[in-house]
């Protein structure tokens, strides 16, 4: 059993309420930070911990915090990104639903370090019922004096508000999120200026993922060095992985970074193995990260054991690796069709493109249409190169990373499963049955990738 820092008490009775949370050591980090540490010391511990943004980008949290501008007389904000919309990802929902006070606690401690007197939770509209749970937790915390004026006699004032979105994946991008929080369309901003300089209401703002802020609690309680002892290299601490797809035990698991990929998939502690049939492919970090075939999931191209860390999963670059991303893990068994899945992904990105940048607005639609026709037996072999060409022209040519996120699933699917795309172009009658690989899996030939 690995150590659990976030979900240790998840099944304790009453943990959703303040009393139960306090009984299990809740709000200790606020006491410690406000009474004995001071803002700079909290920042130091976060830096020492090596904590990296858990929303998907993996940017060092301490470094992000240190960019916060501090012009005198101007308010600063902490905004928690609870817009969790990356396909495959449902860890933040789990955390907020089960232990809402952990997010509240992390927000108070983090805001103290950042000098923010107001913070917001931007939660996706579909999680309306979760927003009610958070509002209740905030009310409880306020009534008990953990929020409000002069918390614990420290002179630090803080309040938290929950802001509900309305259905837009793009609002998980931090500047689109801020636009949305200001009551506008979720169009990402051009950077610089970065939010740390000009964010919400043009004020210095830090935007962090739910899990990142929750992780500040054990970091402050036990010290950054203690946190950094868990994990391997620059992948320190624990990570929530939301596991789905064709596995026996879907759910949210907290792993110590560094667990082997094979163990994560096959151990009964976690995924419990592949459901029904043989493993075909894995997307380990949400739909935006490259899909990799089974053999590259277990071993890197250098035949080293692949580990659940930022570095190991991306070993080999995009030619043979992928990314840890948000921890939205899903596995495909060999009844699944990669072309159908890629079409599904492209439809998602076409739907979610904000429309600002032409390569993304137009490109995602073109890719969806071409993938539709391939999947429905109306495609031709030349479509594969056409898709490759389109995704290549989207990547890196847009204001925000949604363009890259739309391009990578297509590129990786063609890179690793080109023969399956060719099969679709050459076997139109066979693929017209939507479950064409259910009876007989597609026999792909594993090959070295250049």
């Amino acid at each position: 059993m690995g150590r659990k820092l976030l979900l240790e008490h998840v099944n304790k009775p009453g943990i959703q309420g303040l009393e139960g949370y306090r009984a299990n050591g809740g709000y200790r980090s606020v006491e410690k930070a406000l009474k004995t540490m001071g803002p700079e010391a909290v920042l130091e511990e976060v830096k020492k911990s090596g904590l990296r943004g858990r929303g998907g980008a993996g940017f060092p949290t301490g470094l992000k915090w240190s960019f916060m501008a501090k012009p005198p007389g101007i308010p600063r904000y902490l905004v928690v990104n609870a817009d969790e919309s990356e396909p495959g990802t449902f860890k933040d929902r789990y955390l907020m639903e089960r232990i809402p006070h952990m997010l509240v606690e992390g927000m108070i401690t983090s805001s103290f370090a950042l000098g923010a007197n107001t913070s917001f939770i931007y939660i996706r509209g579909e999680y309306f019922y979760v927003s009610r749970i958070l509002e209740r937790a905030i009310e409880e915390a306020r009534a008990a004096g953990w929020l409000g004026k002069n918390i614990l006699g420290s002179g630090f004032d803080h309040d938290i508000h929950v802001h509900v979105g309305a259905g837009a994946y793009i609002c998980g991008e931090e500047t689109a999120l801020l636009e949305s929080l200001e009551g506008k369309r979720g169009n990402p901003r051009i950077k610089p200026p970065f939010p740390a300089v000009k964010g919400l209401y043009e004020c210095p703002t830090v935007v962090n993922n739910v899990e990142t802020i929750a992780a500040v609690v054990p970091i402050v309680n036990d010290g950054g060095e203690e946190y950094a002892k868990i994990g391997i290299g620059k992948s320190t601490g624990t990570k929530l992985i939301s596991a789905g797809g064709n596995i026996k035990r879907p759910g949210v698991y907290e792993i110590e970074l560094g667990v082997s990929c094979e163990e994560f998939l096959n151990s009964d502690e976690w995924c419990g193995g592949v459901e029904g049939r043989a493993l075909k492919a894995v997307i380990p970090g949400g739909s935006s990260v490259p899909i990799i075939p089974a053999e590259l999931y277990f071993k890197t191209a250098k035949f080293e054991t692949r580990l659940m860390t930022y570095e190991s999963l991306s070993d080999g670059g995009f030619a043979t690796g992928t990314m840890l991303g948000s921890g939205g893990f899903y596995a495909y068994n060999d009844a699944q069709c990669i072309v159908r899945s890629t079409w599904n992904h492209s439809r998602f990105y076409r739907h979610e493109s904000c429309g600002q940048c032409s390569p993304c607005r137009e490109g995602t639609g073109w890719m969806e249409k071409i993938l539709y026709r391939l999947e429905h037996g109306q495609g031709r072999t030349a479509d594969i190169d056409l898709l490759w060409d389109i995704q290549r022209r989207i990547e890196g040519n847009t204001i925000c990373p949604l363009g890259d996120a739309a391009a990578w699933p297509v590129a990786s699917a063609i890179r690793h499963f080109r023969d399956e795309f060719e099969y679709h172009a050459t076997h139109p009658t066979k693929v017209k049955d939507p479950k064409h690989f259910e009876k007989e899996p597609f026999r792909r030939v594993a090959k070295a990738v250049v």
Binding site: P75, E84, S85, E86, P87, G88, T89, F90, D92, R93, T118, R124, G125, E126, Y127, F128, Y129, R132, H161, H163, V164, G165, A166, G167, A168, Y169, S180, L181, E182, G183, K184, R185, G186, Y201, S242, A243, G244, G245, N246, P250, G251, V252, S287, G328, Y330, Y332, Q336, R340, S341, N344, H345, F348, H351, E352, C354, P434
Partner: protein, 184 residues
Amino acid sequence: MGATLKAVTTTEGTPPFSFSAEGLAECQRIIARYPEGRSKSALLPILHIAQAENDGWLSVNAMDAVAQVLGIQHIEVYEVASFYSMYNLHPVGKHLLEVCHTSPCMIRGSDDIVAYLEKKLNIHVGETTKDGMFTLKTVECLGSCGTAPMLQCGAKYHENLTPDKVDALIESLRNQPRNNYTDR
């Protein structure tokens, strides 16, 4: 077969709209969260209230009322309402069934659930039943991949769906009042 959903961009033939007293009080509570001069921040949450009080959709009248509450231009409301997928710019049935069909759900059989619902309700995706009881939509990832296939109806997630569960849900909804996202 049912009626297709189409955005209504005129006030013609749509009923007038005004917030209820409770709705208006809730709007004021929401506006108070944001700093002075930043009340436009309340636009998204207030649109949710308007939609809940307007039979689950945003008519032009409802959007204009929101603009009035916030003291902003009508166009500022329209451009936002048309951006976000949870705002319905067309009338919907009493119960809006939103089935997630993104890849993690697809792997676990969301296509079969959609097909089952289409057959059961005798409508296509994007249509409302003739009796105005159900609207069927497919939506993108709802963050419920570990409990797929699933659908959302109002604030509630209905997870690990099977045809039997769908049958039971449809029967129980027939006698329920409208479910809204804002339900507590």
